[in-house]
């Protein structure tokens, strides 16, 4: 790096800059509100991220947002932005330095000149500062898992860490809301925590704060800060606190929730006394009973926090979906639907999981011989606990019952058998079933996969996907297909009865993704008319097998695009 060149670029800004310590460090100085601000930078061997600057005289400014300090530090790291969110011109470091210093000047000037902005920014980065506080506290890196619904003010039971190393759920204390101890799905999902073997050591109550202040810089000010903020606890929380003070405890946790500018934050305080004591209402009580208080980061395990954080929608929690077919495509659909937040899933498939399914199915060796639906339900719950799953071993034909079908918001058929699907589609048409149906299937050799949604009372139906492009009448194979009909595509390696379609887990995953996407978009109200979507793979394997492709394959450029399903030549749609 040409450091003189860097200096000359910075000199154009409203500050002074110089090199010190034989050019190893860069010092930038400027004045805000008649106070000298000194930034120090140590040149790295290689510039791969935004240059880091430290504010040297950090104590002179009181608490400033975006300055990360360790206890007793005289300098603090200035946090401009997330390193991952910036692209650095490493070819011209002088430009990167000029822009970085400029950003520091602007940020620090605003923080020092505008206390309201500084306060808001401190709240915005509450979690980061709280983490520093926790990291510096006794024991270090204190974290508490809180398993609850995110809203209730019910008290929780706290179980201690079980192990020193291993999964975080075993090495950290866990606070579990009473209602969750009887939650079968959650209990299954949290099996690894072995909560049943961990004796309850105390209780935790949740406190909702209507107002929050930035966390204290050090633990020395923690209690004073606590008594300031607890005054803003809402009425139900105040009641809980009053109840708490009526009994004596050895230890307990307070789990706080509050709104900050960028969302909601949670944090906890662990209270510990030498002997069973009354919970203090003021600083005086602390001294009398030898209460010590320790800050904890809260790791919330609640649907309201984790479903949106993982990209799911809480609006889908009440949606009920029937998924028939739990093969390699259907099983992935189940996972993706529940990942999206669908709260009620009914699975059905008469098949048992076989070792031959292993490599393209998400189930594992331990599931061989089990009903696919049962094994899949367990897997899904472990991954996405807040879902209600019913599992059946019925075939699609057995669901030809208007009373049953009309209970669902959506039916997804992932059986890959057009004959059965045709019979089902005709039943739905004749009985005027008012539930949308998604059909999905894939083709061999990685050539592609398809999903259609037929929404009653809109243009387009299952038969639209089966209009023969040559005769313009009903065909036996789908006009969405990429491999020409009439070819022997199935393979077998042990004679009759062992036929299989050659495709891999990637093809199954793609097909499940387009079907699940169609489902979620429909459930969220984004898709309101019958639609179709396909993904198109390469034809290398198909050509090697001397297979021919359809016109659609050769001309298809709309992979993953959702298109209207309706075909003008569909006789059923005309009849409607």
């Amino acid at each position: 790096m040409n450091k003189e060149l860097i200096l000359s670029h910075i000199s154009g800004l409203d500050c002074t800059a110089r090199l010190v310590e034989a050019g190893c460090k860069l010092v930038v100085e400027f004045v805000v509100n008649e106070k000298n601000v000194t930034l120090i930078h140590t040149f790295p061997d290689e510039l791969i991220s935004m240059p880091k600057f430290y504010l040297s005289n950090v104590q002179d400014f009181g608490k400033l947002a975006h300055i990360l300090t360790n206890q007793n530090d005289e300098s603090g790291e200035v946090c401009i932005t997330d390193a991952l969110s910036t692209a650095i011109n490493t070819d011209q470091p002088e430009l990167a330095y000029r822009d970085t210093v400029d950003k520091h000047l602007q940020l620090l000037t605003q923080l020092i000149e505008d206390p309201a902005y500084n306060h808001a920014e401190q709240l915005r980065e509450f979690d980061a500062h709280w983490k520093i506080l926790c990291d510096n506290a006794a024991g270090g890196s204190n974290e508490l898992f809180v398993v609850w619904d995110g809203n209730s003010s019910e008290s929780m039971q706290v179980r201690p860490p079980r192990l020193e190393t291993g999964s975080d759920l075993q090495t950290k204390p866990v606070a579990l809301a009473g209602s969750y101890t009887s939650d079968r799905n959650l209990t299954y999902a949290l099996a690894i925590a072995k909560l049943e073997t961990r004796q309850v050591i105390g209780k935790a109550i949740s406190i909702w704060l209507s107002h929050l202040e930035p966390p204290p810089a050090t633990q020395y000010n923690l209690l004073e800060w606590y008594f300031r903020i607890v005054a803003f606890a809402d009425q139900p929380s105040q009641r809980e606190l009053r109840k708490l003070r009526k009994k004596k405890y050895r230890e307990f946790w307070l789990v706080f929730s509050a709104q900050i500018p960028n969302g909601e934050t949670m944090f906890a305080l662990h209270w510990n006394a030498c002997s069973r004591s009354t919970f203090p209402a003021s600083l005086d009580g602390i001294e009398a009973d030898n209460w010590t208080v320790t800050p904890y980061r809260v790791r919330s395990i609640s649907p309201s926090a984790l479903i949106p954080r993982g990209g799911g929608s809480l609006d889908l929690k009440g949606m009920s979906v029937l998924l028939v077919g739990c093969g390699s495509v259907g099983s992935e659909i189940a996972l993706r639907l529940t990942s999206a937040g669908v709260g009620q899933l009914t699975l059905s498939d008469p098949d048992k999981f076989s070792e031959e399914n292993l490599y393209r199915h998400i189930l594992s060796v331990r599931d061989i011989g089990r009903l696919k639906t049962e094994a899949l339900a367990e897997l899904v719950i472990q991954k996405n606990p807040w879902v209600t799953i019913d599992a059946f071993d019925k075939s699609l034909q057995e669901f030809r019952n208007p009373v049953i079908l009309n209970k669902f918001d959506l039916v997804i058929v992932a059986i890959g058998c057009s004959n059965v699907e045709r019979v089902f589609a005709e039943f739905c048409n004749q009985e005027a079933i008012n539930v949308p149906v998604i059909n999905c299937w894939l083709e061999g050799f990685g050539i592609g996969g398809h999903a259609i949604i037929s929404i009653p009372s809109t243009k387009g139906c299952w038969h639209c996907a089966y209009v023969d492009p040559k005769t313009l009448t009903r065909g036996l194979t789908s006009n969405l297909n990429f491999l020409s009909p009439g070819q022997m595509i199935m393979r077998n390696h042990r004679g009759c009865g062992t036929q299989f379609l050659p495709y891999n887990g990637i093809a199954a995953g793609y097909t499940a993704a387009i079907a699940a996407d169609l489902a979620v978009r429909f459930l969220e109200g984004q898709i309101t008319s019958s639609s179709k979507v396909s993904w198109k793979g390469v034809d290398v394997e198909a050509k090697r097998a001397s297979l021919t492709t359809t016109w659609r394959y050769r001309h298809f450029t709309d992979s993953l695009h959702i298109l209207p399903l309706h075909d003008n030549n569909c006789d059923l749609c005309v009849a409607r």
Partner: protein
Amino acid sequence: MGIQTHFDKFHNKIKLGREDDAYKKARDRDDSIKKDVASAFQSAGYPVVKDFIQGSLKTHTGIIPISGDYDIDRALVIEDDVAPENPVTPKKKTLEVLEERGFKNAKIKKPCVTADYTGDNVHIDFIIYKLSGDQHYLAVGKGSSDEKNREWAATDPCGLTDWINDDSLFGVDDRKEVLAQFRRLVRYIKRWRDVQFSESVASKVYSIGLTVLVKEQLQYSFSTEGARQDLQALINTVGAILDSNYFTEEETGKYRVCVDLPKEPWRNIFDGSSLDTGTQIYNKLSRLKEQLIKAEGLSDEREQCKILNDLFGKDFEIPEPPKGGSKSEKAKYSSAGIVTASVGA
């Protein structure tokens, strides 16, 4: 049922192939006369070395004529070595044969010898070539033409046919469908010509000219599933023809049409045609495009068919209005009872 089904029905009504029954009488006449002419040529010392059918029959773009007069273009080829120096000589020989067979109205035209079988509604054009190596020369000249107005003119009849039938520009797997659509479009536009132009003007809107226009400007159209979309293809192709440089506005609103043969002798097919003919072609093509777009924009098939019936005549049928309350007939599957289609999930 979509609009394509109506185009399919229309096409089935107007298409004419050499093997069609409707053409049988014409074929029989042609075969019979061809033998007599060949025999006369043999006796005259310039035997016919090959003969072939030219025109729409060879390019699969023939249509059943509205007038009912079936038309055959029969090419007879003699060797250059023995061919008379005067190109009108073999044409006169042909005329003699025809007159001997009782044709009252047989006559020598500049490019051919023509005769009508009025009783059978058959019209045959005999086109005489001499062949030197791979090069064909057309016998040009009327019975009375002097030396200046007659010649053996270099031409490439087979090349033209091959050019029309050429599908090498289309993807290997799609050639069949695209070529079939091209042929249908030529048939549609030829029938449109017969319906929209007066008989005297229609005879000057040469079929080969329309064929070359469609071939050069073809904008084929298929749905993403590969279903043919002739209406869309026709709109786009006519649009492309109008947007190209075939028409020159010589006076305000008056157009000269120029469509060059894509093969030797590379001449303008409409050479000598009047400003009125060019203007009529331009204006009627413009209206054709406008009306096709109008039809495309309608959702009611019956209303669409009314417009298309107006453009293409009675063979583009207007379906009966649907009877209220009647359910559609149970659809029949057009394909076989079993088709292997391997899909999975």
